[in-house]
């Protein structure tokens, strides 16, 4: 297994691929919450 700390920069870089998904999902969850109110 890769050592997470040694690859921390790459963790951060690859996390950036997931960030747009998180943003879109969060936006949808907030929209749903607003709709329910």
């Amino acid at each position: 297994m890769s050592v997470p700390i040694a690859h921390a920069g790459h963790w951060a870089a690859t996390l950036l691929y997931a960030a747009p998904i998180i943003v879109v999902v969060l936006a949808l969850v907030i929209q749903r919450w607003r709709d329910r109110r």
Binding site: H10, T14, A18
Partner: protein, 473 residues
């Protein structure tokens, strides 16, 4: 309760995909990406793609307010001579026999023998590109279909009339035999340790053809080809995106994508597309550090249970492949479940089938993006392999000395093609899903709302695809 469990499972799968994205990439950690010369970091392409998808979604909501693709708008271009189909079948059978002969009798070196390149590059990757441009040409060239039809013709001649009618194809089987065929093919491609052995590949191809012939003899050529032939069935799905269609003895033209909404969705249709997307995803994933770090642990776990090292790795890789297919399927189910937020009366399965055709361009986009470099480079090998199919030093066409040109497109060019393919495929998926939603829901606003979660799925597929390409670069 079941719905809730499905939603929970789908959420868990999404989390798993996001977690996988967050894992470090070995390739980028060890400098293999130096060949690319990009003006911005590769992760920024994922952000850019998300913005483009969001803008496309908004554009569709504002400007595409009535269904435009649901009714086929085809124009007859030209009549196709009847003799063309048997001729194409003859060519298909000749290439098939040559490939088998090369695999069984030729040099057992994967790069020197025609069989591996013909099956894994020209047919598996090349034919989908041709299908998306020129329609379902494989239908005419399919060697097992040609042999099946020719056998039927000969049998009718010998019997002196009509043969007994084939069995009725059981509706509940749907496309599941095709799913099993594609799953078997990708298992050989991605897991089988002997996949580089030409005689092994030729033998498996022969077995596949024999199964197709058996299916056709039982259920008839039409019913089996439509449901049981995984390879031909998948190519036929890709051909639905094409601006050309071959049917009723004529060539027809139509708007691109417009063939997709007419996709019949018997059981197994969604699964066939999900297997195509999931297996391509796993091919990329298996080259990244997440899998390369995890696989030895899984392998050790299985060898501890008494399996050999090779068998342990095969079981681990098989599980990885199945897990990826399930994750891709779970994500799609999440998007389909989102439709039920505006139409609670629809079951999740019905919603998944309703939008199944929107997965066709995504499956092609994944294939095009992941295997573009393979067809761009290894595809050229067919020029010298045609002259020396057995790899024994012959020069039948005078092209045996031709070498692969690795300079015509560089790593940067390939990356841009991959990004364009992924983005184009997912925008096409959004368009098809939006158009179907407009046809299903009378109110355009409701139709747009039904697609919110499908947008999230498209964004996830796109970012996942870019990450996989990035990790495998």
């Amino acid at each position: 309760m079941i719905r809730r469990s499905l939603s929970t499972a789908a959420c868990a799968l999404t989390a798993a995909v996001v977690a996988a994205l967050a894992a470090p990439a070995l390739a980028s950690a060890h400098g293999l990406v130096g060949k690319q010369d990009l003006p911005i970091p590769r992760w920024l392409f994922a952000w850019g793609a998300t913005i483009v998808l969001g803008a496309s979604f908004a554009g569709l909501a504002l400007l595409w307010s009535r269904p435009r693709l649901q009714e086929p708008r085809e124009r007859r271009v030209i009549a196709v001579p009847r003799v063309l189909e048997p001729l194409a079948g003859l060519v298909g059978v000749a290439v098939f026999v040559l490939t088998l002969y090369a695999g069984l009798a030729g040099a057992q070196v994967d790069t020197a023998n025609l069989a591996p390149t013909m099956i894994f590059v020209i047919v598996w990757v090349g034919v989908p590109f041709v299908s998306v441009l020129a329609g379902d040409v494989f239908h005419a060239f399919s060697p097992w279909r040609a042999i099946g039809r020719a056998s039927g013709w000969v049998a009718r001649r010998i019997a002196g009339g009509a043969l007994p009618a084939p069995l009725a194809y059981p509706e509940r089987f749907g496309r599941w035999p095709a799913v099993a065929g594609v799953l078997a093919f990708v298992w050989v491609e991605l897991v089988d340790p002997n996949r580089g052995d030409p005689s092994h590949i030729a033998t498996l191809t022969l077995i596949y053809a024999a199964i197709q012939l058996l299916g056709m003899s039982l259920y008839g050529e039409r019913a089996w080809t439509a449901n049981g032939d995984g390879i031909g069935g998948l190519f036929a799905l890709f051909a639905r995106l094409a601006p050309l269609a071959w049917r009723e003895g004529a060539l027809w033209r139509r708007p691109p994508l417009s063939g997709a909404p007419g996709l019949p969705t018997p059981p197994g249709t969604v699964a066939l597309l999900i297997v195509a997307i999931g297996s391509t995803s796993f091919d990329g994933f298996s080259m990244g550090s997440t899998w390369l770090g995890l696989a030895p642990h899984l392998q050790r776990a299985f060898t501890a249970l008494g399996l050999s090292e090779s068998a342990g790795l095969q079981v681990a890789t098989t599980l990885g492949l199945l897990a990826m297919i399930l994750a891709i399927g779970g994500l799609y189910r999440l998007g389909a479940d989102g439709v039920r937020s505006v139409a609670p009366g629809i079951s999740g399965g019905a919603a998944a089938r309703m939008f199944a055709h929107s997965l066709i361009p995504i499956a092609f986009a994944y294939l095009a993006a992941h295997y573009f470099s393979l067809i761009a480079y290894q595809g050229q090998a067919i020029v010298y392999l045609a002259s020396d199919p057995l790899g024994r030093g012959s020069d039948l066409l005078g092209t045996a000395g031709v070498a692969i040109d690795y300079t015509w497109i560089g790593a940067t060019g390939i990356w841009y093609v991959q990004v364009a393919a992924l983005l184009g495929g997912h925008i096409a998926g959004l368009v098809l899903a939006h158009d179907r939603a407009l046809a299903r829901f009378a109110d355009a606003k409701v139709a747009t709302r039904s697609q919110y979660w499908m947008l999230a799925v498209m964004v996830t597929y796109t970012c996942l695809g870019l990450w996989l390409l990035s990790a495998a670069a």
